[in-house]
């Protein structure tokens, strides 16, 4: 009986905690502050959003690079691949209509919610059952995320539960050597 009560109490606390997790929005002039781990080096990276009906433009700033990364509406809806281009070649980089940047497409997100898996960059990612110590915090605030893992490369992604803008807030074991963590969200 004692155990049952304790279990119930745990469930209530867990549900309360769940309810308290936030889902950050992405609006015009939202700045996402990432810390990137790149082949043994650490770099800060900023993405400032410019949302329009046609595109989402991320103004990217990191050491030595400033670039506007343009994600087409088509890609936001139905993109199938992440771009890992740093944008160093041009001041404005238009991604392919299939490519998103630091986020997955809405259709991929729906796949993930409905089927617990999605395919991106020809890689299948499965949902991982979230453990209590697997939570993502940004500036001390718990974030509502889906934790997925690639079937073959073992890349882990933490995707914010925002159906409109499923931002990737954390990458681990990326075989491309680009792991990042969202540290702060700023709205101007």
């Amino acid at each position: 009986m004692k155990n049952v009560l304790l279990s119930l109490l745990f469930c209530v606390v867990y549900q309360l905690a769940e309810a308290q997790r936030s889902v950050p929005e992405l609006k015009n002039n939202t700045t996402l502050h990432y810390e990137c781990k790149l082949h043994g080096q650490t770099r800060a990276l900023k993405l400032t959003a410019n949302v329009s009906s046609d595109t989402l433009v991320f103004h990217l700033e990191t050491r030595g690079v400033k670039s506007d990364i343009v994600i087409a509406q088509q890609a936001l809806k139905n993109g199938t691949a992440l771009s890992f281009n740093q944008g160093e070649n041009t001041a404005v980089l238009h991604l392919k209509p299939t490519e998103t940047f630091f986020m997955i497409s809405r259709s991929a997100y729906q796949d993930l919610v409905q089927n617990n898996k999605f395919v991106y960059n020809n890689t299948t990612y499965d949902v991982i059952n979230q453990k209590p110590n697997d939570e993502v915090f940004i500036e001390g605030k718990a974030i509502d995320v889906l934790h997925v893992k690639a079937q073959i490369d073992n890349t882990a992604l933490w995707i914010i539960k925002n159906p409109d803008f499923p931002i990737i807030c954390k990458v681990d074991k990326n075989p491309l050597g680009i792991d990042f963590t969202l540290m702060k969200i700023e709205q101007k």
Binding site: H39, Q41, G64, E88, N122, D153
Partner: protein, 758 residues
Amino acid sequence: MKINTKAILFLSISLLLEMTVIAQEKVHTYVDPMIGSEGVGRVFVGPSCPYGMVKPSPDCTAGPNSGWLPIPKEVTGFSQVHVSGTGGGPKYGNIQIMPFSGALDKLDQTSFRAEENVKLGYYETVFKENGIKTEITTGEKVSFYRITYPENQVKALKIDPGFFLGEQAEPDGREAQQFVGSQIEIVSDTEIRGYSRIRGGWNNGRAYTVYFWAVFDQPIAKHVTYKDGKFYPNDKAQFDSGKKTAALVSFGKEGKQELNVKIGISFLSELKAKNNIEVEIPHWDFNAVLVALENKWENLLSRIRLSADTSVDYKKMFYTGLYHTMIMPVDRTGENPLWTNNEPYYDDFYTIWDTFRTSSPLITLIDSKRNVEIINAMLNIYKREGYLPEGRSGNDNGRTQGGSNAEVVLADAFVKNLTGIDYELALKAMLKDATVPPGGNEEKEGRGGLLDYIRLGYVPYGTDRAGNRTIDYSYNDYNIAVVAKGLNKMDLYERYMKQADSWQNLWRADYTDKGATGFIMPKDANGNWLDDIVFGESKIQKPTFKYTPVIIESPWYVCHWCVFFYEGTSWEYSFSIPHDVPELVRKSGGEKAFETRLDTFFNTNLYNVANEPSFLTPCLYHWIGKPYLSSDRISSIIKNNFNTSRKGLPGNDDSGAMSSWLAFHMMGLYPNAGQPYYLLNTPLIKETTVTLENGKSFTISTKKRSDKNKYIKAAFLNGKPYDKAWISHDDIMNGGQLLLEMDSKPSAWGTTILPPTK
């Protein structure tokens, strides 16, 4: 007549007084060790003898490369071995001491500085919390501390051989120093000995051991020793069991408030460290040690004199530049733990990739005997370990960045006729680099990618740093050819002159960028140019990045060491062909196109003042007959990037590389290392006199030099018209005067007889 006599007498006395003042001027007082200490310069700020083995300085946490950081950062302690101006993971920071007051019950005695005073050979700080004043000076192998405690405070000191810079929790972290062992023993009431054994650091070197013997001028009243987190009040010694050891000692409250500490350092043994004290500083006179150190520097620095009317700022920039050039590599003669002979032994070549261009030639100009010693030490390393050093530190050839650049140093000595070097042996050592692959670890020494370089004529993409390795090896092959020819080995000369053209195999003639045509670009082993390069190790995804002449692909796509061009772009490296600029000009589309290319490079921020690959580039206008444009560029680079502030160096000083670049240009000279001449530019100094080791002197004088009159109108070498914008090393060694007449407009001077070609 009477008036005239009086006037003559007055003038004579004035002249005599002025001459006396000049004669007495101590140029070492212009050295400011703080120039370049903050920001990216990372210079060592503590006292050091020229090429001194011991470099005591505060360590402000275990993070900074030089140990020091500005106030208000805390001081963890003062350790005895450091390097200057380096990037990458820190090295050394061994045998730390820290004065404190109070109980002997905690190892962390971190304090904050209330003030700090630094000059050549001397460091002083007063701690905020306890008012303790620490002064430091040094000998070659012995550091000397004068610690003054406030009255009625317990005089306590921590001795911590467990400390070192760059400590990271991750085992075998790349470029992180790792603890191997330490031990400590209180030998008597005035002596403590022990050692620190550390491995890794920037050059991923094998373990090195720093032994010490510390002596105090007051008896220890109380002590505790420490090992692995525990204190042992009753034990006088802690042996090495792979754990960190230390001792806390107290000298009581009684007696004088000043505690003097001498710390002998050795890389051989504790007893050798003790012997170093007995031989070098047998007394307790702090000021005598400081004066001896100042005199050593004065003797070297005063070999180049600047005209009396030179501004104080220029004097500070110049003499500090010379000072930085001569604190590394370090003289460890008699301290070599690896083999025994009477040859000189130097360590901390950090790295020759950085220093071959300007540091080494400047040492040749000021103190060629020292450079002979350094080169003989390099040859000794080759004899004993099989390869010349490149990035050697902690007694280990640990790292290469590009070429086998010792070749340039040896060729530079050869073409400048330095005597006392076995050039047959030098050629053998150079040929080893050029013919024998270094084995499994291609990063350590020799030439990585050598077999491909010989087979294909270039290092293909896929081998780390393939781009700069190819062009550096080309130049190194030219260096070999020069020495071979001088030793009358014409078959070798022919072969290596041919190989010196290898850079052309990576020249992509039809590639254009920002109006410039032709770049050194990546090519695979099958001879295909690579535009889109696959990155990462995914089993499924094969993303690509576009290789362009402006990309620095690290760290986003590849690791720092895995790039095509090390710490630079194709725009920078495509100018870096110091032995064949005429061919570079031709390949770039001729003189006009080359001038435009240079202008684009400097005007659109493609030039990187902070690193060595572009050191020669501002002078390349000389090869299209426009030396005045070189001078314009140099003047503007110095004005915008160098000054007397703590942030007065625009990049890592790299053992004085950046500082020696500045010092040369201030004189109006610039060496093309490995070749027997200096390019001439408008000097920043009105008159510079170099006292040469052969007893002669050479003066570079300007006439009518002003901010407006910044162009050379005519030149006279020992009174005879001199039309070349370059001068041979021999001409300088013959002594005399080069007079440069200045004007407000560029002239035809130096435009017709271009610098020597290969």
